[in-house]
């Protein structure tokens, strides 16, 4: 879709924008909105002819809308939706129900939204686990209550003596000390443990544990037995749908609806968006960021440059290394952004049938999985380590059109298969590496489809079209370095004041007037909007007095 609001001829280079934002990912658009609503003259430049980055919906097969990358919504902060009036611009989040792990022996373990139905379902597999589930959920909720207030706060710089950093450090310390010794110990263990060890403390049933593992390895180049995966689980659990913490939903019209609503709100606030405008280089002159140069050579000048690209693409691909401190560059190079995920988007002629599920089961309206033990998930990760895609892949598969009537014609369906593991490069010979080829991609796609067919005979016959995406496609299309879906892994060493680089966690780049607002920054990846919002807060704060009418920006809703 073309941008009708943008001027038909680009502004000449003698015009200076208040801010140019590189990338129309959802975070770039969030920052853009807050700045435009504060009266700044804001330009967003996006390399693709579509917007949204990894929050995008495209029609690749007539009549079907795909959520091409991200596919479920929970993390997006409701405070941001409200500040930017996104529902009025078309954003609607739909809760979904149920889900299931299919077992190799023909059985399944379901989840249900109803507490009692869910308890009895787990009890079918383990009466003990069914009763422990509530304690587990309670404990996770405690961790959520700790982390949620941190999402919309700029992390302090522990090395700084500025009053704001000191008071923010004190705030963190207070939060932590308020926990009490046992809880604090639990917290630290939780933030550093493997999900497998963590689950072993609660549960005995392997299928249940495999189910709980999903969110702990999503988007992460770690296996369930790797330390640090428990935190990744929390990252996926701390969102909510209308206050229902841990619940996920669909954006009506696909995840691109988030970006479309942001773009509509931005244009309504007078902002300008240019698609098909790839940035080749961020301009640094006289020691400050002065604008960007597009690939066709056009120079765009601005009082500040804000990058929505990941930290590696920003500093390693789009800047002159001589403009950057060497130590900083070194940190950026070692920032972990190993890709681990692939995705299939499938147009179906009819709903797949899973004989394991009873008639009328709501599970098809939720998330579906085919890995029924933690060990199988770990083995899938072994393939990644060996430089192969998983022969027995790990899927988070959904059929959003079961709920959303806008995504496929009545009776037909859109299926989204998120798959692990997929390495960014494939092993070549004993210790060489090579790029993915189209053949590799198709073979990976086949492994995924074959796995579904095993549990849903006849599935293949219903396929009308498939989009297969490996880290190669994710990098080429969205610009995610090595295809890492979070613009950098969400492990504890890369969180809070260490994200993306110690000393640079406050959205400021190492060059004056250069800022970062993407998922590479605190609090990280997912369609959350918090990095973009926090970056805008810092930019506006840096302008002091310079902004007339500051946009409404809510603090996080209190945790009672």
């Amino acid at each position: 879709m073309k941008d009708t609001a943008a001027p038909s001829t680009p502004r000449s280079s003698n015009c200076i924008w208040d801010a140019v934002i590189v990338g129309a990912g959802h975070n770039g658009l969030v920052t853009a909105n807050y700045l435009a609503r504060s009266g700044l003259d804001v330009l967003v430049v996006e390399k693709n002819d579509w917007i949204g980055g990894a929050a995008v919906s495209r029609e690749l097969y007539p009549g079907f809308t795909y959520s091409n990358c991200s596919y479920v919504c929970s993390l997006f902060r409701p405070e941001i939706m409200r500040d930017l009036d996104l529902p009025a611009h078309g954003l609607q989040v739909l809760p979904y129900e149920g889900g299931a792990v299919f077992q190799r022996d023909g059985g399944y373990l379901a989840t249900y939204r109803d507490h009692e139905a869910n308890r009895r379902e787990i009890a079918r597999h383990s009466p003990r686990d069914a009763e422990n589930y509530d304690r587990y959920a309670r404990d996770l909720m405690r961790h959520c209550r700790f982390i949620r207030p941190l999402l919309m706060r700029t992390p302090p710089d522990p090395a700084s003596f500025k009053p704001r950093d000191l008071s923010e450090m004190a705030y963190l310390a207070r939060q932590f000390l308020a926990l009490g010794a046992d809880e604090a110990a639990d917290m630290v263990r939780f933030w550093t443990m493997s999900i497998s060890d963590y689950l072993d403390e609660y549960f005995e049933n392997d299928t249940l544990k495999a189910y709980m593992t999903v969110a702990a390895i999503t988007g992460t180049a770690l296996g369930p037995m790797s330390p640090g995966t428990a935190y990744v689980l929390l990252h996926h659990y701390m969102g909510d749908v209308d206050g229902n913490i841990g619940a996920w939903g669909y954006a009506r019209g696909g995840m691109g609806a988030v970006s479309q609503a942001l773009a509509a709100s931005f244009r309504g606030a007078g902002g300008t968006l240019r698609e098909n405008a790839p940035v080749a280089r961020i301009l640094v002159r006289s020691g400050r960021a002065e604008g960007v140069v597009l690939e066709d050579g056009e120079e765009i000048l601005a009082r500040r440059v804000i990058s929505n690209m990941d930290v590696k693409r920003t500093f390693l691909n789009c800047m002159d290394p001589t403009d950057l401190p060497e130590a900083f560059l070194g940190r950026v190079r070692s920032f972990k952004s190993r890709g681990s995920s692939g995705k299939l988007n499938i147009a179906l002629d009819g709903a797949p049938e899973f004989p394991a599920l009873p008639d009328g089961s709501p599970c098809l309206r939720g998330d579906l999985h085919f890995t029924d033990s933690v060990e199988r998930a770990e083995r899938a990760y072994d393939d990644w380590k060996a430089g192969r895609w998983s022969a027995d892949p790990f899927q988070d598969t959904m059929i959003p059109s079961m709920i959303d009537p806008t995504m496929a014609p009545p009776g037909k369906h859109f299926m989204s298969c998120f798959v692990q593991y997929c390495p960014p490069k494939l092993r070549n010979g004993a210790d060489g590496e090579r790029d993915w080829t189209d053949n590799d991609r198709d073979a990976f796609g086949k492994a995924v489809i074959d796995q579904i067919e095993d549990y849903a005979p006849g599935f293949k016959q219903r396929i009308l079209h498939v989009e297969v995406r490996t880290p190669r496609e994710l990098e080429a299309e969205v610009g995610l370095t090595d295809g890492n879906i979070f613009q950098g892994e969400l492990t504890f060493d890369q969180l809070l004041f260490n994200r993306p680089v110690p000393g640079y966690a406050q959205y400021r780049g190492p060059v004056p007037d250069l800022w970062m607002c993407g998922s590479s920054t605190h609090p990280g990846g997912g369609v959350m909007g918090a990095p973009g919002r926090n970056a805008a807060a810092e930019i506006l704060r840096s302008m002091r007095g310079g902004v007339g009418n500051r946009a409404e920006m809510r603090d996080a809703y209190p945790v009672l």
């Binding site: 409701p78 939706m81 409200r82 996104l86 529902p87 009025a88 609607q92 989040v93 739909l94 809760p95 129900e97 939204r113 109803d114 749908v241 209308d242 206050g243 229902n244 009506r252 079961m402 709920i403 959303d404 009537p405 806008t406 009545p410 009776g411 809510r554 809703y557 209190p558 009672l560």
Partner: protein
């Protein structure tokens, strides 16, 4: 079995749709509505509400009180009874209206259907037979309670047009809001369809006789499945109606006939219904009192929509000016999944319905694990409807 002396055994009546409602009411969540057993939910309020805004929902409205108002003098009678000009309502149209006693205090609000030149139907929340009959003196009109003679289903949501089309509804595309038409819906037979509802969304109400009720339910559910139709209960509907900014008698205002404490009675202007009052149409019940109150500055209250900070619903909250002076009361409140706002309806003392600026606070007591968190959250007066999608009025309607 049908011994009418045995009401003590079954105080609540059953709706004509009861067998289907009962089968789907998996949590046995029941509540009485106008003496009928009705479903509060069908197991999942959030999913049900979502279907009202995302796909399509089916809600049993049979318990609504319905009066047949018929005769050559019906239109003139209704002009005299209600606030609006009923005689201007074309045959085949529906009017949202209200009526008052001589003090100008609201007795109820409801929808008035003009089924023929001399035939009307009035649907409302409370029972008013004596009032309606006594008001008919001097008019050539008969008034009869037909509540139990008519079964009704409300089909609401963005795919409701798709559902009803799939069910065989002909000429549906041209049916405008607040219009009605007779249709034949396959095995469900002849029905009356009105483009009305209580959700503020695209939707229809479908009226039939009790003997054909189950056929209608089954036929709609079958036709609606590919369009994600699901039954919804009163809890989901209540969220939707607050989003739409609609009021309910005896929840957002007290019906004048039932008011015990005289200061609780309200004029139309005091509950947001002032726009209905047609002072130019000639005499009607309450006219002089309404005019006198307007002219004499005797209106004390107003009904407003509120957008409240945070995400804790303000049910029952008291409203304070500058945190000190009590100026009103929340009558309905909900966290709105559609608008992502914390919404409420409230009665507020004049002139604060206009002049409160940023000075209003809602005092909320949130009970969490046996302790109250007391919150004083900023409340801003907001325009109703809070949610008003273009599809509500689009003719022809879209498929979703």
């Amino acid at each position: 079995m049908n011994d009418l002396r045995h009401h003590f055994r079954t105080p609540l009546m059953r709706s004509p749709f009861h067998p289907r409602v009962e089968a789907a009411n998996v949590l046995n969540a029941w509540a009485p509505w106008a003496g009928v057993t009705t479903a509060l939910n069908f197991g999942d309020v959030a999913m049900e509400h979502s279907s009202i805004r995302n796909s399509a929902s089916l809600y049993d409205i049979s318990p609504m009180i319905k009066y047949a108002i018929e005769g050559p003098g019906a239109a003139a009678y209704l002009d005299r009874l209600t606030l609006r000009r009923a005689s201007a309502l074309p045959v085949g149209a529906v009017q949202y209206t209200s009526w008052c006693n001589d003090a100008g205090h609201v007795l109820d609000d409801g929808t008035l259907f003009r089924l023929g030149e001399d035939r009307f139907r009035l649907c409302c929340q409370e029972r008013h037979l004596p009032w309606l009959q006594d008001s008919a003196i001097g008019f050539d009109v008969s008034i009869r309670d037909e509540t139990e003679a008519i079964a009704g289903l409300s089909l609401q949501g963005p795919t409701s047009f798709s559902v009803l089309s799939a069910a065989g509804g002909a000429d549906l595309a041209s049916l405008k809001p607040f219009r009605l038409a007779e249709m034949h819906l396959g095995p469900a037979g002849p029905v009356m369809v009105s483009r009305t509802g209580f959700t503020g969304d695209l939707g229809y109400e479908i009226w039939t006789t009790p003997d054909r009720a189950l056929d209608l339910w089954d036929h709609l559910m079958a036709a609606g499945t590919p369009h994600r139709l699901r039954p919804v209960g009163t809890e989901a509907l209540n969220i939707a109606r607050i989003e739409a900014g609609f009021i309910i008698a005896n929840m957002d205002f007290i019906c004048a006939e039932q008011v015990l404490r005289p200061d609780r009675a309200r004029q139309p202007d005091e509950i947001g219904l002032g726009w209905m009052v047609d002072l130019d149409k000639g005499a009607f019940n309450g006219r002089n009192a309404i005019r006198a109150a307007r002219e004499g500055g005797m209106l004390h209250w107003a009904l407003v929509g509120l957008d409240i900070e945070g995400n804790v619903p303000a049910e029952g909250a008291e409203l304070y000016l500058d945190g000190k002076k009590a100026v009103g009361q929340v009558t309905a409140a909900v966290w709105s999944p559609t608008t992502k706002r914390n919404l409420a309806l409230a009665q507020i003392r004049r002139p604060w319905h206009r002049d409160a600026g940023d000075r209003l606070r809602a005092e909320i007591y949130a009970l969490r694990e046996l302790q109250y968190h007391k919150l004083m959250l900023r409340a801003r007066i907001a325009r109703r409807p809070f949610f008003n999608p273009p599809r509500r009025r689009a003719t022809p309607p879209g498929m979703f």
